[in-house]
Symmetry: D2
């Protein structure tokens, strides 16, 4: 009989550029961190090898296998059900990558993977704004795209194959903007960093109203927000339209889910000042009457640097302990 | 200690015109039926009184309280969570009607209520096309409107207040057709008996192409379908547009839920021949690629006369047994 | 998109001597049956081969793969979690037998296995005395031994490794009778066909009271029950002691679980007349006061010939559909 | 729409003598504490009034109703399902006390109650040794008695009426020691502070072996443990017998539940040095072979002063938010 309680997990955030590896205790305290360049490893085996080394080193420096229970990974296009990264658009590794198997065999610990939205939702549920809620939606507005994960009766709804929550690929305009996914009119092309910039460009092209944006070579959410601060009408309109489209998309989503709360997370949150008013107005206008005024709209206050690894650590606790020797 | 197994429930379908009361055994066999006119009782207390009498008579004729376990009711705008009919558009009784309390106190049995879509989904899960599925969507296309209920991990997702699944009130066209709910652009105004007729009228007004529909005083799904049989282009186009809009709405829904199946039920199903091809094409075109070709689109083959009381009986089994004397 | 609903499953009961294979529809109607001798196949591969052939033949005769969804198997010592028969005492195949893998690869359908008690409990939940209950205990009193399965909140409790419910191997007497499992004092040695016979023998040896049992070469539950009919005191005492021990065991079990009902199933049920009074008295005496008089003690009225294959068919619906081609 | 996240709850431990009230954040940090004498209020209404005042004061001092979400209470004989204290043996208030209703109406916040074992298990699940486990047993060995709570598939198993887990009232000896509950042979009379003292007295009476215990007027676990330190054979034997009986009881329990871990908590834990070796040996000897060596036996390392209010705070998060104004 064992008498040791394993009270730590490894939470990993695989970003497009960098990978963050953290040791997290069961109350969400980050005890140690390490980093790896994601882009240095065009071959997944090399990456898995390098990442496993870092995991083992970090585990050993923090109590070893006696103290560390399991590993959770947040990465774009990951599927919790299959344990694979599946056709990630922005990652170096194409096709279906069996990340759980690759890591578990090397590290000797149970591993869970989830996409950004799933991991973020787990983090908000365990350590954040969704604590105590059973039915809620988490909207993940990263630079890369627009994801979501909702909880049904206290559990993340993953769907039959683990693909649920693809809010960014709901069609909001028939034959609308061409999306990176190949289809047209996806919400992501309107309500994301990319969509915001497209909207700004369209607005600039559609009128000759003066705008500081005209002088800029490259448009980004950051510079558009700066122009908003200078009261630039086109910049403000671009954010408003994003808020409108997202508000409509969330209204339909909420009409289907009837959540206790809609929680906005992700890097785009820092611009919420500019899109939230239009989002709220559009949400109220489009959501079914039973639900209007009965949904909390929350902007996550979780630290951007902690959110992903905390969410990944929450995933880590959901897998059964695993040992080669049992 | 009791040694009797209660093997029957009462399933009730409260329709706009008629109420059907059935005794159903645990394998879904309807053992006896009785009827009541819904419209005869403008006051809910009178209705509850009359319905309770019928329930008690039917129970006593089928084994009595030793054999009958509980009561389930399918009725528009019912909320399983609160036990109330909440602001039903087409029922004689306005506002919030505490139907569970009204019946339970009179009948002395546990009572569950659910709206059409919820009851239908329970019926499909227990006795129909969804048996064995954990994640699926049931679309209820009645004459009155368009409802839905999806299951998450083997349980109906009811949402924080019990209002989930209002597919008919998802906005599919900003500033679109005015809906009975007061808002604009609700899917129900395009994909329902009412929506179909509106579309046909718009098509007739927009061209002067010949159509048998022009000669008719009143348009209904039935006559439009008859004209389809006669190869009437406008009639066929009306159904196609309904299929297109519903296909788009279901594609977005499925992109969020990732169901094993989408199951079409309800009175409009008999016309599926005319709208299903456009629905399928639109669904395929608009659903996220991960999900396309991985969702079963099923048309329920459950008998229209049995579906609602069977669904209601399935609801009956979900409540705890209740007795005044325990 | 598929538009076919798979409405049948294969339910299989692997008994010590015979295997029964049945096609069961989703309302629990047995549509067809076939049989196989279990003992003819000392090697598991031969058995799996022969069984698979029968499954395929039966499936093809009943609608084929378009209609048949999956396979469920009830067999002693099966573990639903691992899909294996694990160290069955009375089966021809020793050690750990990966039955799910052996059948699935041959048959091309999803397969579930469960031990007798698990399958029986599923059958009672879906088609029998436990329908509508969320927390209940099913006690399986076969000739071979004493098993159990309880439901927690509407789901069978299988435990961390799938071994839960081993009521027969709870110790009721420190250093008591030697059990086939190697330990001493297991309840199975007192409350089973084998235990009953041991008790009768002990009673015969302990006194010289007259008894018809003394003239018999072989004691069985059947002959002991026959002697009870003839008012044989020792025969009646043997059943009473079995009832007493089982009542005590169930009282402790119910004190831990607080079930809505305790449901007795299995071949020994036909003798319940002789052990149930003592069982009830002992249960009432030993169960915690909060629970006494609040538990239904039910004797299953499910047909012995149907029970196992119905339970197996209920298991079949719990696995995800599987196809080599998806 | 609200944009505030409620990140604190009130956790309350109602002990026989004292009541502790704490503000706990969602990561389990105790932010503030207050105390109340339990025994000062022989009438429950007075107690509820006084307690509510303290709750409101503490809430207001820690962010008010904007920040405090709900209240959780750990108290002997509380039933989460009914919200009542039910016939507590050691509390000043007899019969059934509707504590949830009494507090909620006064405080205006949602309130949950659970008995010691339930609250402790929630605490271990969220903040302690059971984090990440789905199936485990928590054994609560307080001075007052012996309780337990097990989790099934990630949820506490409460049973049909909320009474599950009464390990202390499992009968371990037919016609054994008279229990405070009125029955005989309850495990609590052998494996608790009271049981230990009874055993020591029996051992002293049964022999005239020398023992320091003979000189003492009053026996307590503390003095018996002190004698163990002095190598007193009778003191050591008393603890050993307690370990043996508890090991047997836990072995039967684990044979039914198949837990990942058995976690010992409560005030008696400080004496585990003296009873754990016998407990482990007895457990190994009596547990079913499939489970032996596959269960972690863990002694909780949660701080005794924090355990109960943390467990109560974990309960607080399980209830829906409540407001008089929604």
């Amino acid at each position: 009989m064992s008498t040791t309680v394993k009270s730590k997990v490894i939470g990993i955030d695989i970003g497009v550029k960098n990978t963050t590896i953290a040791v997290v205790d069961l109350r969400g305290t980050i005890l140690a961190k390490d980093y790896l360049s994601t882009t240095d490893y065009p071959y997944i085996n090399d990456y898995a090898e390098a990442l496993s080394e870092r995991i083992v080193m970090l585990a050993e420096a923090n109590g070893g296998y006696e103290a560390v229970r399991s590993v959770g990974v947040s990465v774009a296009s990951a599927n919790y059900v299959t344990g694979c990264i599946e056709n990630a658009a922005n990652m170096p590794w194409k096709g279906v990558v069996p990340l759980v198997a690759l890591l578990r065999d090397r590290v000797g610990l149970a591993v869970a993977v989830g996409n950004d939205a799933h991991a973020t939702a787990m983090g908000e549920y365990v350590y954040g704004a969704a604590h105590g809620m059973n039915n809620f939606m988490v909207i993940s507005m990263g630079h890369g795209g627009l994801g979501s994960c909702f909880f049904s009766d206290g559990q993340p709804h993953l769907g039959h194959h683990g693909f649920a929550g693809e809010l960014g690929h709901c069609c909001v305009e028939d034959h609308g903007r061409r999306c990176t996914c190949g289809r047209e009119g996806c919400l992501e092309e309107y309500a994301s960093a990319r969509g915001l910039v497209r909207t700004a460009r369209e607005l600039l092209a559609a009128s000759d109203a003066p705008s500081q944006l005209r002088a800029l070579d490259e448009l980004t959410p950051e510079v558009i927000a700066q122009c908003c601060e200078a009261d630039d009408e086109i910049a403000k309109e671009a954010f408003s339209r994003m808020g409108f489209q997202l508000g409509l998309g969330l209204a339909n989503y909420a009409t289907l889910i009837n959540p206790e709360a809609v929680i906005l997370t992700g890097e785009m949150n820092i611009f919420s000042k500019w899109f939230l008013p239009a989002l709220e107005q559009s949400f109220d206008e489009h959501v079914f009457q039973n639900i209007r005024n009965h949904v909390k709209l929350l902007v996550s206050d979780m630290d951007n640097n902690e959110r992903d690894v905390l969410g990944a650590s929450a995933l880590a606790w959901t897998v059964k302990e695993y040992s080669l020797f049992k």
